[in-house]
Amino acid sequence: MAINPIKPLYFRRPSALVRLVVVGIVSIALMTADHKGRHLEFLRGVLATIVYPLQYAVDLPIQVGTWMAETVTSRSELMQQNYRLRRENLRIHSRLEKFAELEAENRRLRSLLDSSIKVGDKVLIAELLSVDMDPFARRIVLNKGTRDGVFSGQSLIDSNGVMGQVVQAGPFSSNALLITDPSHALPVQVHRSGYRAVAVGVGPQNLLELLHIPNNADLRVGDLLVTSGLGGRFPSGYPVGHIISVERDRGRPFASVKVEPTARLERNREVLLVWPAQGGETLEGMNPGTIIK
């Protein structure tokens, strides 16, 4: 058979189609495995390490900008800031002393009631990398990974409240899901009445919604919601948000309740990763100085 120079041209098409089908099946298999469970943790970790330099490079100009801004601040500005921080520190310190006393009292009372209490969560300060992710999900990247002890499912807070949880932990960085992501649900409790509910994210807006709330539930605008700790993921008692609207429609089975998160989800650069306390016996947590690692 003579070799026809045109032949390869005709060969390319079926092979491209075959390749597309193979690649398509592989991607669908990967997506299913990724969606159904945590079978791909290891692969994700390896790939995350490879793309970390990219994320770091994207974040670098912003870091340099911050550093420059800090370097060129004037002396008087720094002194002012220092003064303000000193006063704030004093105020917070005095409150903390009171809290330590209350905590001890609480512990005593609980031991009288024979119930355990978890206090003294260990925390670690992490920084957000300024990189954008899928615009349709609410996710962030942190600069701490499994090397620092971060694990998948760890909760993330800032100084005002709960921010979200880690969903993928790589060696150097980790991805976290914010509580406003539509696929995130958070067990909460009304601080005033103890009423329990589940808060889910709405997505684009910086809001949460309470699910399946009967029309006669004891909820008011302005109520503070705190984590109930029921899911086992989040430590209990951290503030989540304030109720900003309660719409009760008799025609519908459930009321529509909107919640504004207290954490500054869009603005914070420094966040705290929380390790839940091991149990009631970790008394070292009592000393405020040892809380922050």
Binding site: R13, R19, I28, L30, L47, L54, Q55, V58, V131, M133
Partner: protein, 162 residues
């Protein structure tokens, strides 16, 4: 020859790395859906210019990296980019001789298919999708295409990537 092939590989890889970085570049919240599909655009260019070297396998690999970078399901962008590469390979000969604005319209079609695939997979996972999500990114991609084309073509000529 070998050295030249090595150098030209390097140019292709660098263009993809820059596209990936542009995908991760922080933008204000409202601008998120208006981000052009940088990686898809660069991929379309190389598929049209060098169909024998950049094809479905490159698209798949690139997609996996993009998935990890943007935190989507592993395979989501890989599938969408592979489909884009496949369609481009089917009619690159006809498209690459068109004037730039007509190429832009073709690119709009490709970017739209890419976006629809991504949003369908999001929809299967239960994420809400709004009307403008479908159109915003392909439109910007179309508008930017002539510039991307010229920049990448000049780069290709300068480094003699063939």
């Amino acid at each position: 020859m070998n050295q030249q092939a090595h150098r030209s590989n390097w140019v292709i890889v660098m263009s993809f790395v820059i596209a990936l970085m542009l995908m991760a570049l922080p933008m204000p919240d409202w601008a998120g859906i208006w981000r052009p599909a940088w990686v898809a655009l660069v991929l379309i260019y190389w598929c049209m210019a060098l169909p024998a070297r950049v094809g479905i396998m490159v698209a798949f690999t690139l997609g996996i990296f993009l998935d990890v970078l943007s935190g989507t399901l592993l395979g989501q962008n890989a599938l969408a980019l592979s489909v884009v590469a496949f369609i481009t390979l089917q009619f690159y000969q006809r498209v690459r001789v068109l004037p730039l604005w007509q190429q832009g319209i073709t690119v709009f079609g490709l970017a739209f298919i890419h976006q629809v695939l991504l949003l369908w997979i999001n929809g299967i996972q239960g994420m809400p999708v709004s009307f403008s999500d479908y159109w915003a990114s392909p439109l910007i991609s179309m508008v930017l295409w002539p510039w991307i084309f010229v920049v990448l073509r000049d780069m290709r000529r300068k480094y003699q990537v063939a």
